[in-house]
Amino acid sequence: MKTDLITSLYVFMLAGFIGFEVIRRVSPLLHTPLMSLTNALDAIAVVGAILLAGEHKTTLSTVLGTIAIVAATSNVVGGFLITDRMLKMFRASRNPKP
């Protein structure tokens, strides 16, 4: 599904604005898990690496793609794991005052 450059730029711009608005609302309390979560989401680059390794066009592209999958997958797995571990630790007071 080929799209033109301008459409892609629009997507980038809109996503940037959404990013700013959404991230601005994240409590400073959670800035560390936020960073590990965005890191895991960013590893969606694995999609590009899978195509590269799977399409098997040249030896170079397969080798580079395979290494890229390893790097990105470790971020996906490690990133989600640690984010969840961190968030599990955040708990409210047992009897919070009104």
């Binding site: 599904m1 890191n39 590893a43 969606i44 580079l64 999958i69 708990r91």
Partner: protein, 466 residues
């Protein structure tokens, strides 16, 4: 062949849903009560997108893909299980992995397309590999410094910024030439190697206390390079994920630079390895009042409101669990205990919050700077554990101070200030802290973990003979 085109559509729909889930994932991070839903949304989105990709008819060989996915998981699991104190270096390392992936894909895409690469394609490709490779080595350096494999001390020399910016300009120049003449393929390695070198040199002048800004900035670069990869591959999903990550890193970097009173351009140009200020003058030996754990325990027990201000020193001393015992003990006595957390306390944004949450301190007791500053005038005791510059009142009052203008925690407004500190050595910025010489300040000299432990012992023992 009429049924097949629908596979493409299915793939695109999985990407669309994944994109929505990623945005929701970040939206749910706004509050600790919904944050775990955010992780689940992210995981589901990732699963969908990867599954969709595997349906792609272009994939002729699943063997390497499968091996790589398994290998990545094997590496990823231990990285997800590191100790909480190692989270800053783990984060830096994962920025490096993300950047590595992007750089490798960019390199492969160039050699697949060369020598006839359209100009726009070549521009985003260059952006992808330049940002990717400098983030790769920069993040490795940052991780090395945080893990203390590399010297943490900033290394500076004359003309450092000129050398660094010159290198970056050279890389951009070569990239621009390649955009016009993509058939000069031999030039491509240059736009890989120069940024790799630049990434190393960029981190060399960075000291430990600047790490929160640097990690945020590298986070942003990693995101932007992934977005560039999205343009190369024409993947909206990747563009959105990269833009979200880039925006997140950017917001955090701006926050961090504001909290350190540095201009954002100062940060952007890698000049955050600040000019070394040598504050030698005014070395009169002023008297400080010190106190024993027993005295400190007495004052804390008599207080009705205590604010604890943790800093990197608490993390280094691994004192957070002792701090929790102190919190429990005081809370049981009916003392209102809260924590005041400066944005740049620790080695990455939110570092202190994670350590205290791990020690099982409820998050509603962890206040950020703006929330807690209004409370100090009604506070009986401000207890500072391993923090220094972020409590320095000179930032508010002394226009000649190098940190003048930096937002600080107004601990000096509390009735009594107690500072747990190893010695009178100056803080990271090498600036004397007038807080220590106030009449209301008591210095508690010693290792944070041991000292807090002693206070707790006094408090629990004090019940029997008090």
């Amino acid at each position: 062949m009429t049924s097949l085109p629908s596979t493409d559509l299915i793939i695109e729909i999985t990407y669309l849903i994944a994109t929505a889930l990623f945005i929701l994932s970040l939206k749910w991070m706004s509050s600790p009560t919904t944050a775990r839903h955010g992780v689940w949304a992210g995981e589901l989105g990732m699963l969908l997108a990867v599954a969709g990709t595997l349906l792609n008819r272009g994939i002729v060989d699943y063997k390497w893909v499968a091996i790589a996915l398994v290998l990545g998981t094997i590496i990823g699991v231990p990285l997800g299980k590191v100790h909480m104190t190692a989270v800053p270096q783990r984060t830096a390392l994962s920025h490096a992995f993300g950047a590595l992936c992007v750089t490798l894909v960019g390199t492969a895409e160039f050699y697949l397309r060369a020598p006839s690469v359209p100009r726009f394609m070549m521009s985003v490709l260059s952006m992808e590999v330049i940002l990717g490779s400098l983030t790769f080595t920069g993040s490795l350096m940052a991780a090395g410094k945080l893990q203390e494999i590399l010297p943490q001390r900033p290394i500076t020399y004359k003309g450092q910024n000129i050398v660094n910016l010159g290198l970056l300009a050279a890389a951009v120049g070569v990239a621009a030439y390649l955009v016009i003449h993509p058939d000069h393929m031999y030039l491509f390695p240059i736009i890989l190697v120069i940024p790799l070198l630049f990434g190393v040199l960029m981190i060399v002048p960075i000291g430990g206390a600047d790490m929160p800004t640097v990690i945020s900035l590298l986070n942003s670069y990693a995101g932007l390079s992934a977005a560039a990869m999205g343009f190369v591959l024409d993947s909206k999903l990747l563009i959105v994920a990269g833009a979200l990550d880039g925006a997140s890193g950017l917001i955090l970097s701006v926050n961090m630079s504001k909290a350190m009173n540095r201009s954002f351009s100062n940060v952007l140009f890698g000049a955050f390895g600040q000019e070394q200020v040598s504050v030698k003058g005014g070395q009169e030996t002023r008297a400080v009042r010190s106190a024993t754990p027993e005295e400190a325990a007495g004052i804390l027990a008599a207080a009705s409101k205590v604010v604890i201000v943790p800093g990197y020193g608490m993390a280094v001393a691994q004192a957070q669990h002792k701090v929790r015992e102190l919190y429990d003990n005081l809370t049981k006595r009916g003392v209102d205990v809260k924590f005041g957390i400066h944005p740049v306390a620790g080695r990455m944004p939110g570092h202190m919050n994670v350590l205290l949450a791990e020690a099982d301190i409820p998050y509603d007791k962890l206040l950020d700077m703006d929330e807690v500053n209004g409370e100090f005038p009604q506070t009986d005791v401000a207890l500072i554990i391993g923090a220094n510059d972020v409590t320095n009142p000179a930032a508010r009052t002394d226009a000649s101070s190098p940190i003048f203008g930096m937002p600080i925690l107004d601990v000096d407004k509390a009735r009594t200030v107690m500072v747990i500190k190893r010695s009178m050595a100056a803080g990271f910025a090498g600036i004397d802290n007038p807080l220590y010489y106030l009449d209301k300040t008591l210095m508690l000299f010693g290792d944070a973990k041991n000292f807090v432990g002693s206070i707790v012992r006094e408090l629990s023992g004090g019940d029997s003979h008090g």
